[in-house]
Amino acid sequence: MDVIKITLYGITAVVFILLLKSCNSQWGTVLSIGAGVVLALYILNYLLDMSAALKEWEAYLSGVSQYMGVLWKALGITYLCEFASGVCRDSGNSLIAGQIELCGKVAVMLLGMPILWALVETITGYYQG
């Protein structure tokens, strides 16, 4: 995880984007998408190793592994939707960005619905008992 590499990469990307934007052309947004994708790839590879360690921890928390999976998936959905809406907002069309964020929220809500249902059931169980 070479932080210097990432920061320098971001700064050079911004310099190139400014250069392209100064000649008022649209290539700046294409370049920012490219830089964003490359940076995300570099960071996600480190997250891969971490996720393997996280899966081992689930062995200790015996009853929770189902919810950990849902949590992990929700994290992925939010990351992806945030990345895509950021790209859309950068290029100026915030309408599409809003729709993508809405889709992310709905997806996470749908993902968490079974957990909510289990909670409600346990609560109503107390009343009958």
Partner: protein, 66 residues
């Protein structure tokens, strides 16, 4: 962490703009659009593998494969 991608894309952007200006001044306005299109397609051929790789990594990492 390919910095070459940045350089190549910036180079294509600048070249397309210069060629567009040259073509505009020499009267052939329509060709500048085609040059821009060719430049965009070229950049996309470099960029799409990275984007595909990113989405595949995210899908494998967060096991979103649904």
């Amino acid at each position: 962490m390919s910095v070459a991608l940045l350089f190549k894309m910036a180079a294509v952007g600048i070249l397309v703009m210069i060629l567009g200006q040259v073509l505009k001044n020499s009267g052939k306005e329509e060709y500048s659009f085609f040059v821009g299109l060719a430049g965009l397609i070229l950049v996309l051929t470099w960029l799409v593998p990275y984007i595909g790789d990113l989405f595949e990594t995210v899908e494998r990492l967060f096991d979103l494969g649904g």
